[in-house]
Subunit: 346 residues, 4 copies
């Protein structure tokens, strides 16, 4: 069985593992106050072009999302997001468990537009019962989204400008950020993100680390007392240096970006095959995620040798699925998949 | 200015006021443990045909909703409701503030169907990531709904059977329950509601009381320690007898139902006029709420003498509004409204 | 049976009742946006010498406490209070239910000192694990306290200065404020309280109203969006004018203070008798609450005709109890109590 | 500088690291549904003599504490613990952030007695205002405690029997469980703990793992839907197998216990030296933690070469500190410490 079902099936990249092995018996301070965390944070600030940023390392994405949102909002405020946003559908109500409503807008491709944000906020403010409704205060986006789509520089700029004009925070979930930044022709850089967002995170779990997300806070209001929030939500690792060591390795010699590019290149190969075969997509994309549509018959055969994610039925005879590549995917496995597709799809 | 904008513009019915005056200087136990609360609860149980029910008096609707839902759910569970449900849109995230997600289903008329409930629950259970999503555990309905619609006996029975088959609680918000039960031709009784719902409340604020809702719990699981929850959420009135005195008066000599019938009759008069004039409705109804559609010109004139609620624009030239009658509405004011409509609408 | 067990056994003062009767059938806007609320708020601001204050009317004390504290704190912050503070012991964890820890300091008389506040805050800041502990951010005091004691002007000034020097809010629970301000020789005025506290409330439930507390916010940071918080916590009464009407009546012609003085005078009579009889106190006081210590034999006899509150056993043969007078207490009942005490205590 | 300040300064034991290296590129299911988690859970169940237990792997102690307590309690219920309990003082209000009050009892040695539990619960039930106070429902203990003390088998049995008689859950925080179980002469076994507690955890972070705690639930009520709670609180690691792999290694060939014994033996050496030197203790103990009292002069010298934890000042001239040994402590460093003590203490 060859796995294309997600991008977190393996452990970590060899260089990350080597860093963990090398530092294993060193003694450091606990709770993220060690030198490895400091070094990794420094590299990330430089990479972002934001020496004024605060960088914190958290264990996982749900934890990062709930901690950032709880830190940012007062009790009557909510997080606005596309209806398919991870915080809305796949985190067991983690945001609500901190007391905050997730306010959704319709979206087919996993993205929210500046116009939607403006429309919701203005409608809220114009309503005579505005105090009877949750106040939108933060916009949550993921980039790449859960559908593998990406915000263009102009879209992200418009979102940022709209949020800031209206007094909202812009929070970007970058669980797969590397796979977005390395996508062919993508016009957004890490510096753009650090310039346009109030807070975001650089995902490690899906991009070469055993686990860990680097939260980057650029808005000084959001920096205050953030470590208290991490601790309160159970996210402060005693051996915080584990995260520092990993991100330090990922941010050394361009490793994070090189391994993300590897995954995107392999996804491009699969896309080439799909296009040759005339396969259509649930949502088109350029990152490490591919959402092709196949007939039930093809999928029945394909599933004998390959593992993939079921997305949804699109017709009585066809279903959309997801293939994921990652830093760990091999050329050999991609070739096997492409060959199988060529054999199965007429 | 004549007010048809809501059903809580005045104080309370004269007989309720007299009861408050008569008992004002009596000394009673606090926190709802007095004889008036006991007497009112006894009358409500008899009325419901449920001597086994627990009856608690709370100050208002949002408080009743958040207290019942928080008492019923474990942290990972959510309340399912129609997208327009009061808990979803007009309570400033009160349910989320207790940690629970409100799960919505699409609805044009303010109602949710048994099929929708089944579909959401089965989809949740069938999903391989079910633990990553909030577990639906309670269905919240309002009856009448925010759109003045009513669940028929067969609809309510189907909802109840589906909830119980699937292990969910059925909770009915009866803020305007009297106006529903007294609607011409409505086939549901108080006993039906007490038989079919796990918990519901009989609204007093909008039906003759100064304030107060009588929460009736029929499911024994939900009864346990409910008073702790009331206290914790700030809903335990020191002079709890104020609620007992009011509901005792409302439940004496059929007062609650007589005054609700009065409101419905007056609403029927307005509906007759609308129908004579060929006015269409946003949503048709038979309770104390009417949602007619008028041209902007008519509304401009009408608003000079009458106060009503804006609902939504339905065309470039027409808007839907709401008229509410109540126990306090006078025949004279209804006649004035009907005359005005006849003059304005051609 | 004559009741001295608490100060909320009756309804409301006759003049408050008359105001409710007089306005009963008037139509007003809902949710506290009516003219009565505006008028009452204006009178309170003038009384406080703080035209810049925000005044909100809430239904009860627990609701006021939880709403103010939740509005004031970020998630990692806590409320500091004396160990016997109402929020710590008698509100079913209402503050914790909003996510905040109540941090306590030892206290025999229900009060906290400026030195205690400074000591806790400085210890927190000096601790190398400060982020692993809740950050003290608000000091909750009640005045009079649960033990009937009062903060002197110098004590209150010291608390206020310490809080503000250290960046904490000072919140005063004035559920029995009238009975404190009218105590013989008390050197604190309403203006002092409004000058020294960031937020406080003037209790109505125990001082002449059916129910209701007037929250006065003087710190502009705490004013922002406060009505959202009221709504979210179920404290926004549809017929908000009920609170406005009552406080408007209480704040007219010095009523609030006259009726509080009445209660204190009658308590003074009981204290005179106790002192003649050589009775000792659990805690001495000058407000409407008296905490005398009697033998079990005396209490057994006394309880045949009088209702009082048990406080605690102070020796194998003696117990401390509480007598409360109120705006509703009669001279006749006080005379009966004093006569009984003279007969029973040798 | 030689570190005796805590037991989480290094990475993980060599055999744990080898297991992580060996499995690094394997593909497994995510979220703890892999074979390594299953294998580790099976070993733990056998070790506990409870094949019916549910075993879950969480990242850290605060996360384990807040997740277990939130899963176990209804909103009005609280966790009872000794005043020095970790959940009360060093988790930034994590339990309160889930809405629950921590109810404390006085304790000098970090332990709570069965009598204290009974006394608090009976007092709560006997109080006429019981619904105005948080209901005690769970007893939280740590074993070893924060003061290095241990519950004897008779103490633990009494606690368990009292909890179960009164309807409370007994929850044991075993962050340092290995170091307790291996202490010389300790009469409690893992099977005893699994028999007497409703839920407990076996700490990995401080006993040989990079991170991770194994939560063992023996009470079937507490098992229900526990994984939802893990996910909601951000504790469900995408690569859950990292925890399974580590605990599988620790539970193989008695590793967990052997390395804990190593730490205890080295602590015994330090204790022997202290006793030879007539050093007194803040609290005596037999685990990997030692709380000796030294003069300020000795500590000033000692701190030049050794890192330890400050506990508290016990006199104008003396302070109590903590030395911790761990699985990673070397004989050589312990010898250096003992030599230094012998030189410094006269």
């Amino acid at each position: 069985m060859i796995y294309f079902n997600n991008d977190y099936s393996e452990g970590c990249h060899q260089k990350v593992l080597e860093a963990l092995i090398r530092t294993n018996m060193e003694q450091t301070l606990g709770y993220g106050e060690d030198e490895y965390c400091a070094a990794a944070a420094a590299k990330i600030k430089t990479l972002c072009g934001r020496e004024d940023a605060a960088v914190h390392f958290l264990v996982g994405g749900t934890q990062a999302n709930l901690t950032v949102i709880d830190a940012a909002l007062r009790p009557h405020q909510g997080a606005l997001c596309p209806v398919g946003g991870h915080i809305n559908v796949h985190e067991t109500g983690a945001v609500e468990a901190t007391g905050h409503k997730v306010l959704t807008v319709p979206s087919d491709d996993g993205k929210i537009t500046a116009e939607q944000v403006r429309s919701v906020v203005m409608a809220h403010r114009a309503d005579s019962s505005f105090e009877h409704m949750v106040q939108p205060k933060l916009v949550y986006i993921s980039n790449p989204t859960e559908y593998g789509t990406l915000y263009s520089l102009s879209e992200l700029t418009a979102l940022s400008e709209t949020c800031h004009e209206l007094g909202l925070y812009l929070f970007l979930d970058g669980a797969r950020l590397g796979y977005g930044l390395m996508a062919a022709g993508y016009d957004v850089t890490m510096q753009d993100i650090a310039r346009l967002c109030d807070v975001f995170y650089i995902g490690g779990t899906k991009v070469g680390a055993l686990f860990g997300e680097a939260v980057v806070i650029t808005n000084s209001v959001l920096k205050e007392d953030f470590r208290y929030l991490i601790k309160q939500h159970g996210g402060m690792l005693a051996k915080g240096r584990l995260l520092g060591v990993q991100f330090d390795a990922l941010m050394t010699d361009n490793l994070y970006f090189d391994i993300a590019l590897h995954a995107v290149h392999l996804a491009d190969k699969i896309r080439e095959t799909c296009e040759e075969l005339g396969v259509s997509y649930l949502v088109p994309g350029i990152t490490n995620q591919i959402f092709p549509i196949f007939s039930d018959d093809v999928l029945a055969e394909l599933s004998k040798d390959f593992c993939f994610t079921e997305m949804e039925r699109v017709s009585p005879t066809h279903r959309a699925i997801r293939f994921c590549t990652s830093w760990a995917t091999t050329q050999e496995n991609v070739d096997a998949l492409c060959d199988a597709l060529k054999n199965l799809v007429k």
